[in-house]
């Protein structure tokens, strides 16, 4: 087994992290293992299913396709960092209201994928956008409903950049 490690510093959900990782440790493995943040899920480990999606410098990325050392110096935000002081994020509230999850396996990835309303996402674009996330339970309709409601929320009601 390879013994080389690399020292990485990053901010995860606002907290400063300093840790040694093997080069091949993925960001997902770092989050789920040493950092104990198991809300980020591993479905395919090929970038297709979207369950591992987190925010890197505010943008959605597949944490299974990033090596942890590549996030050195970066800000990472995971599902655990979405609610603030026990208050659910408006997107999470909508998911509850619309029953947009069942087993919850795909949910963290979809939430992190949607929260920043990437690319000025609009109602037509949401269906295609959700193509990047595999859900086996819901049939997508309630997820679509929650996402559409989120997109429809006015600019000043919605916190910026997934705060």
């Amino acid at each position: 087994m390879n013994d080389t490690t690399m020292q990485v510093n990053m901010t995860v959900n606002g907290e400063s992290i300093e840790i040694a990782v093997a080069p091949r440790t993925t960001l997902a493995d770092l989050l789920r293992g040493p950092l104990g943040l198991t809300g980020t899920h591993l479905g395919c480990e090929q970038g297709v299913c979207g369950a591992c999606t987190v925010l890197l410098e505010g943008a959605p990325v597949r944490s299974c396709l990033l090596f942890a050392y590549q996030a050195d110096g970066a800000e990472v935000r995971t599902i655990e960092g979405l609610a603030e002081d026990g208050e659910l994020h408006p997107l999470q509230e909508l998911f509850l209201e619309k029953r947009a999850f069942q087993c919850g396996f795909c949910t963290p990835g979809i939430l992190m994928g949607l929260v920043g309303k990437p690319q000025g996402l609009d109602r037509e674009g949401i269906r295609d956008y959700l193509g990047g996330f595999v859900c086996r339970c819901t049939g997508y309709e309630p997820i679509l409903a929650a996402a559409e409601a989120y997109v429809a929320q006015s600019e000043d009601e919605r916190p910026k950049d997934g705060e």
Partner: protein, 291 residues
């Protein structure tokens, strides 16, 4: 699965990256990692060293060329490129096509140089590079060389780079102002690998096609100009190209077929995507309106 163990060199410069690539013949470059990391996870590759070029500033940047074209650095991410006003201005076909690459989260890391070097037969960038007759700028120990796109893609997942060379960027020439442009791909779901895709540049005069450049991908080992197609289209109205296109297409036997599509289906899809790309391009061409 997890990637096999490797050593990592985080290069600070092109020179350092080339040194690391040359020092070990099993060293491999990592840029966006969106194609490489799945291969490592599936244990389809086991390089001893990964040479990471994500921090090499020389590989960044999108520059408007004096000739009206566009120079794009290898490390420019797809999403970053889509956000450049210069792209919409100078290369609208690229702007139209890039959103077909995988999914948003993938595009946030995927790079132009990586997509070119990976030479995926179903890749949008190889098709764009060949259709637009781009030139790949390659860094070598002796300074560099330039490879025309049509010479760069040698076979499926095989490019023309030698050991100790890397893609520095691509130069796209200016698009003609009279030509219309179009792109179409078919995939099972949005964001999946294309089963077939085509790009077209078409000129129209008095409602008839006067010239067309059409490149096919996904059903061919490399992006391919089907030599019989362009002459078959000239003189036809865009809405009437089904028959000439169908007649000019190679027979099913010329298509290899794969797990997703047998040869007959590949031939059919190829015709469909080419027809749609050509008709889109014709509609955008200057002079497309019938007087």
């Amino acid at each position: 699965m997890k990637a096999p163990p490797f050593e990592c060199v985080v290069a600070a410069s092109v020179g350092e990256a080339l040194d690391a690539l040359t020092a070990d013949e099993d060293a491999v470059l990592i840029a966006g990692g969106q194609s490489l990391v799945p291969m490592l996870a599936l244990r389809l590759a086991a390089p001893t060293v990964l040479v990471d070029v994500n921090r090499v500033s020389e590989l960044q940047g999108v520059v408007r060329a004096d000739n009206g074209g566009l120079s794009i650095g290898a490390m420019v991410r797809q999403t970053e490129l889509l956000e450049q006003p210069a792209l919409a201005d100078r290369q609208p076909l690229v702007a139209e096509t890039l959103p077909y690459i995988a999914h948003h989260a993938i595009r946030n890391r995927s790079t132009v140089g990586g997509a070119l070097a990976h030479a995926d037969p179903a890749g949008e960038w190889p098709l764009l590079a060949v259709l637009l007759q781009g030139t790949i700028d390659v860094a070598t120990r002796n300074g560099g060389r330039r490879i025309r796109a049509e010479d760069f893609f040698v076979g499926p997942l095989t490019n023309a780079l030698g050991q100790g060379e890397l893609v520095r960027g691509i130069e796209l020439p200016p698009m003609g102002s009279d030509t219309g442009w179009g792109f179409h791909e078919v995939a099972r779901r949005p964001g999946d690998f294309a089963l077939a895709g085509a790009g077209a540049l078409v000129a129209v005069h008095d409602g008839e096609i006067t010239s067309a450049r059409v490149v096919l991908m996904g059903t061919t080992p490399v992006p391919t100009v089907l030599s019989e197609v362009e002459p078959a289209l000239v003189g036809h109205r865009p809405e009437d190209i089904f028959e000439p296109l169908e007649d000019a297409m190679p027979a099913s036997e010329s298509f290899q077929g794969d797990a997703h599509a047998p040869p007959e289906f590949q031939r059919h899809l190829s015709r469909v995507v080419m027809q749609r790309a050509i008709q889109q391009a014709a509609a955008r061409a200057h002079g497309a309106e019938v007087p």
